[in-house]
């Protein structure tokens, strides 16, 4: 322990060096802005800064990328809360609650909660990385696609808590999303599914087009048609406030979200998106007021937001201790390690502790600095709230055009985005919930991939999901998640 604290101390001294600290701040700023722009993801930003790191030393290079990583996973929440446009799929659950709070005139509260819970989740996960990385990595390495499938099923099962008014409507929406996820060239056999000779469908329906269309364009059309929920109060002073006292009643959602983030982020391949959906679903299930979820529930926002940043430390565990990237973002970071001649893996902690602990300290600092930068960014974006609705709506459509086009430089994605925008408007009209569809298109392909790989590896033996202990427990929890609301409803009827 003494040696670990000593290494961590040296790491902090190094990370606080002028160049290293500057890299953290620059990375955070780039990450927050990139995360907030729809179509430009945190991953795009990490890839874009990679060439700039060639001439740097490994430590400033990685601190820059860590800054982008931590800032990027948070940035999408700002536009989600303010304009109902999640910057990344991982920010979707935050948007569900944050945008509702914004419409109720609680913009400052929502932004403040998002910043503080993101920073808390990221900070705790960075400390977890510092103290428990090697044993956790050893434990998580025993997991296979069987366990990953179970975790994704758990995420999908949380649709039971999203179908507030009608479970049937939520399931229609979920299965539609899952079907959209099957369109395109299938990965295992290379077969085109449901393409119907339409060239652009060969590469599938990108979930970002669905996301931008359903949320942003749908909302704009809703406002134009005069059917949108009226804003309770136009907040002209949307400066986020520091909600330290507000966080105390939300300490349990915060703790649960962070724990889910670290645990799910620690599973190589699961990542922040799965963790945000899982923690949101879990929180609603545990909550004493589940009916308030989707109407601006602070607990839901805090749980999903802390789990998103909580997953960053978890994903870094694999990279640093085993040399296995746990997500696409850490895969790019692994590239940076290799470019600088460093092989991440078990020996890294013993052979180059100074560099490793500087990176860990950098993660801790990034999450602290993110509070300040998050406030500045939220303030800058929030000033847009003062812009008249006509101008704001117009530029939202233009940004959606650019965001969709930027995915693959293809007008087909723009058409799809606008098509889903119109679909989003009518889904709202017909009371079909949008979140389950988004969940289906994001988690559906993951579930299929893990399921089929598990079947190939285990000779089509379905019992493998019940005989592996972690998978069995997670699946049992998923079943409980589905059965619990029905049981509760039945009990209510009998009483």
């Amino acid at each position: 322990m003494g040696e670990l604290l000593g290494n961590l101390g040296v790491g902090f001294l190094n990370a606080l060096g002028p160049l290293n600290f500057l890299m953290i701040v620059a990375g955070l700023a780039i990450g927050i802005v990139a995360g907030a722009l729809p179509g430009i993801t945190m991953l795009n930003a990490i890839v874009l800064v990679l060439p700039f790191t060639y001439l740097m030393g490994i430590v400033p290079a990685l601190l820059l990328m860590i800054g982008v990583y931590c800032g990027g996973v948070f940035g999408g929440s700002i536009t989600g809360i303010l304009f109902n446009i999640p910057g990344d799929p991982m920010n979707v659950p935050t948007t569900w609650e944050g945008y509702r709070l914004n419409r109720q005139g609680k913009t400052q509260y929502a932004l403040g909660l998002a910043i503080m819970s993101s920073a808390f989740g990221g900070l705790v996960s960075a400390l977890f990385l510092a103290f428990f990385a090697p044993p956790f990595a050893k434990f998580a390495l025993g997991f296979s696609t069987v366990e990953f499938f179970s975790v994704v099923v758990f995420g999908l099962a949380s649709v039971s808590v999203l179908g507030q008014h009608s479970m049937a409507a939520a399931l229609v929406s979920l299965f539609t999303g899952m079907f959209l996820g099957t369109i395109g060239t299938e990965a295992q056999y290379g077969v085109e599914r449901f393409v119907f000779d339409v060239p652009f469908l060969k590469t599938g329906v990108d979930f970002v087009t669905v996301l931008i269309g359903l949320f942003a364009i749908g909302e704009v059309l809703d406002q134009i048609a005069g059917t949108a929920e009226p804003a309770a109060h136009v907040n002209t002073r949307a400066v986020p406030r520091l909600p330290l006292l507000d966080l105390w009643p939300l300490r349990w959602p915060l703790a649960r979200g962070t724990a889910v983030g670290i645990a799910v982020g620690g599973l190589a391949g699961a990542g922040a998106t799965v963790s945000s959906f899982v923690s949101y679903g879990l929180e609603k299930q545990i909550s004493k007021e589940p009916e308030r979820f989707g109407t601006g529930h602070a607990g839901g926002l805090v749980a999903s937001e802390s789990s998103v940043n909580g997953s960053t430390g978890g994903a870094m565990i694999h990279l640093l201790t085993l040399g296995i990237p746990g997500s696409a973002a850490t895969a790019v970071m692994m590239g940076a390690f290799l470019i600088h001649g460093i092989q991440p893996g078990p020996l890294l902690f013993t052979k180059q502790p100074e560099q490793v602990y500087t990176i860990v300290a950098g993660m801790v600092l990034a999450n602290v600095v993110m509070i300040a930068l998050g406030f500045v960014a939220a303030l800058s974006f929030a000033t847009l709230m003062k812009v008249p609705a006509a101008i704001l709506n117009t530029f939202i459509v233009v940004f959606c055009f650019i965001g969709a086009f930027a995915l693959r430089n293809d007008m087909a994605d723009v058409w799809l985005t606008m098509l889903f925008g119109v679909a989003g408007f009518f889904m709202r009209r017909w009371d079909l919930p949008i979140p389950p569809l988004v969940m289906g298109i994001i988690l559906g392909p993951m579930a299929e991939g893990y399921f089929l790989t598990s079947m190939v590896a285990n000779g089509n033996d379905l019992t493998v999901f019940a005989t592996r202990p972690v998978s069995a427990i997670v699946l049992a929890l998923a079943v409980a998640l589905l059965v619990w609301p029905v049981a509760k409803r039945m009990r209510r009827r009998t009483t």
Partner: protein, 160 residues
């Protein structure tokens, strides 16, 4: 109730369309049609459940709670968005965007000429600097004379 039943018909049609996928799977393997069929079967059941729910709600005389939509404004907005996307590859991003911004602002009730001009022109130029110059995004340049116009504009703005 018509919409859920239409969903059932579409899902069954897609199940039918998935037959061709079986040809590639080897015996004893689940094949590429297994997962979509599972999902479509789920969709059929969910749509049927929704139809039953809608029928019961109609039996109870539940009213549609959705507020009435301003249909003309909505149709115009959708038409403007469709025109924007359709014309961008022909006229180029800068010209189409400037026209779209002006049109959508008028629809939104912000029709003062100065505001229209400022937002159309300054907004388009700012977007070009941000996404073409800084992010190197190859936004549509248009065809024929419109491509020449877009390139001339880029040169005038020193974008390239």
């Amino acid at each position: 109730m018509a919409a859920p039943l239409a969903g059932v018909i579409v899902a069954i049609g897609l199940l039918f369309a998935s037959r061709g996928l079986d040809t590639v799977s080897a015996p004893g393997q689940l094949g590429p049609s297994f997962w979509p069929r599972l999902v479509l079967a789920g969709l059929v059941i969910a749509c049927l459940a929704k139809a039953v729910e809608a029928r019961r709600a109609r039996g109870r005389g539940a009213a549609d709670a959705a507020p009435p939509a301003a249909r003309a404004r909505l149709a115009t907005a959708i038409a403007l968005v469709v025109l924007y996307v359709a014309l961008a590859p022909l006229l180029g991003f800068p010209l189409t965007t400037a026209l779209f911004i002006a049109g959508f602002l008028v629809l939104g009730g912000a029709g003062r000429p100065l505001m229209l001009a400022a937002n159309s022109f300054a907004g388009t130029v700012a977007l070009l600097y941000l996404f073409v110059k800084l992010v190197y995004l190859p936004l549509p340049k248009g065809g024929g004379p419109f491509e020449t116009f877009t390139l001339a504009l880029y040169r005038a703005l020193r974008i390239f």
